[in-house]
Amino acid sequence: MFAYIIRRVAYAVPILIGVNVLTFYLFFVVNSPDDMARLHLGMKHVTAEAIEHWKADHGYDKPLLVNPSEHGVKRFTDTIFFQKSVRLFAFDFGYSDDGRDIGYDISQRMQPSLAIAVPALLVGLLVNVTFAMLMAFFRATYVDVSGVILCVILMSISGMFYIIGGQFLLAKMFRLVPISGFAGGIDGVKFLILPVLIGVVSGIGAGARWYRTFFLEEAGKDFVRTARAKGLSESLVMFRHVLRNALIPIVTGVVVVLPLLFLGSLLTESFFSIPGLGSYTIDAINKQDFAVVRAMVFLGSVLYIIGLILVDITYTIVDPRVRLS
């Protein structure tokens, strides 16, 4: 087990190197620092001095890969690649275009993201599993068919309409909750209700329908038929045999997204002006702040890979049939 985890972690390193090289290529080779400077200073009437000045301010005035004017190790460390890309591996994200420490900003913004994402995930999981089990319990009846139709309708609605509609109905017309905003501590709960609720509702369609297939797959297996043949009641069969086996793919599906919860949701956070990492990302894209985008790309990849490793470990824990070698 331990050796397996070590090997998986070692396998993650070349992937992170690949991500790093790819982002370096996209951000510095395809789109040179000169272009970046011009984008920020405005396209027209930019003097060469202004560009040089901007580059020097943001540390983009070094050669890309090899610095011929330096000697020894500095020949390779005093370059854009080392300063901007390699240092990401130490989670040293540098400074954003307006001079803020990106690492500090990220650590500050993780908590609001999690405050929305974790409750939404947990409540959503509970609702989806319940709904899916209900459909599977009444399979091939009108309850099941109308449930599936409802799911297809729910998943055909864009996530933005859930947010806009929810804000309009609950916050504007009935004034039950504030439209947007965020506060820490116990005062913050009233701000969280609506985003969490919308996160849950918008996920029901796809989630419940997907989980339903797991339940149906298990419900058709031989051991379930044996359980019924023994004379167990249908609800006992569902809870004891079907649910426990169907939970295996559900749990692993949840585990893979767990690390990504840190990144927050782009839409929810920006519509509800929650100071999390999702709105941080959107702000960075709108301000064309490449330093922040680079940092988020790297962070996202790290979290994704952690998710993959966690899934493999979870498999062995929830499903004793799987042995890692």
Binding site: R38, L39, V152, M155, S158, F161, I282, V293, M296, G300
Partner: protein, 469 residues
Amino acid sequence: MIKPVLLTTDALVFLLTALVLVFGVYARNKPHLREPWQQVLRGRVAAACTVVLLAFVGIGLLDSVHFRTPLKDAGSGGATHYSVDVLSVLDVLVGPLRTRQEKTYSAPFATHLFAKESIELPDGRTVRAYPRLVYGGRHLRAGGPGRLQDILQRSGRSVAETLLGAALLLVVAAGLLARRHATPVPAMLQRILRGRTDMPWRTILATLSALLLLLFLAINLATVYHVLGTDKVGQDVFYQSLKSIRTGLLIGTLTTLVMLPFAVFLGIVAGYARGWIDDVVQYVYTTLNSIPHVLLIAAAILMLQVYVNSHPDLFETTLERADIRLLFLCIILGVTSWTSLCRLLRGESMKLRETEYIQAATAFGVSHLRIITRHILPNVMHIVLITVVLDFSGLVLAEAVLSYVGVGVDPTMNSWGNMINGARLEMAREPVVWWSLLSAFLFMFTLVLAANLFSDAVRDAFDPRTRVR
């Protein structure tokens, strides 16, 4: 003379249409290819969805034939100059919808603007009032029938026209079917009306009639009113929604067209060859998958913007600039979405290479290329098809989100995402400007719902695991 304009995406659309048509002709006489599609169409829901989807595709195709009209004033030289406005056949067909621009917001079926303005009366006084719309409800005379009565009259006429059209459709369909099955027409008519035909002709005709009703309503009402209101700059929202159809369809189809060759080739080769090739392909897709997709798309779109801004001479009109961005968006969406299909195909071809018929082919000394093209590719095509159809609705929805983030299609291009984005802030207004959102929602919801239901039917028909009958 008009000057035809072939945008890059237009060319790809026509290529795709040609491919589908060629496949259709090819599959006509091949029972094993024809059968699953017939099974799809035999379902009532799927048949209705197909009709709706075809209507969307038709509008999208009409909107893909572009041209530029010559300017009236040809100038002193012999050469004609062309207008910078690129029009499509759809623009010509809907004619007045495009040109009748009001000053600013107006509600659906309104005759007056949404906001009060200072109006100068003939006697010199100024009052604050809702100004009359320039085009909306212009035909209404002061003494004549009121607005509500006029709308009812026009709707009634549309219903009558629809009933006539539907009856005509029914008779034509019954005639054609009767000839094919060599039964008398009245008997066929009865079978259709009772729903006792092989294909669900009753459902198909009912859906067609519903579309016909919408068409007649549009002809009778949209030409004199702004049926879905006008937006901030006074443009007809109904026209915008129609124009957005092409954008939505392109995002959904071209993206898959772009990613298919990579996904199919790499997936099959990885699963078939195994060894280091498999490792490399797996490495590539894990790496690409691990980058948050929105950020990769954002980075690529920002890069394209820099390129377009520094090469303004490459693109003659704003539409061409918007078009290259749309194409690029499709490509980059393809880059982020090919991985799941690639993984599926890799697993499937790994399984297939161990089957007896492929082992036999290997034993006979058939070359690898031939095994892949003759034996593996046809046997994974159902996976490809199911993935393509399933991905479509997700891509249409993704466009809206990307446009909201600011990395979607060009802001000048009509798209549902841009409509939502523009109307989003108007929800805070009192009273609310809701019609842009509602129309974007209705059009998107219809397309995505139809696509979702259709894809379910396709999956049921093609996936051997769910094929029970």
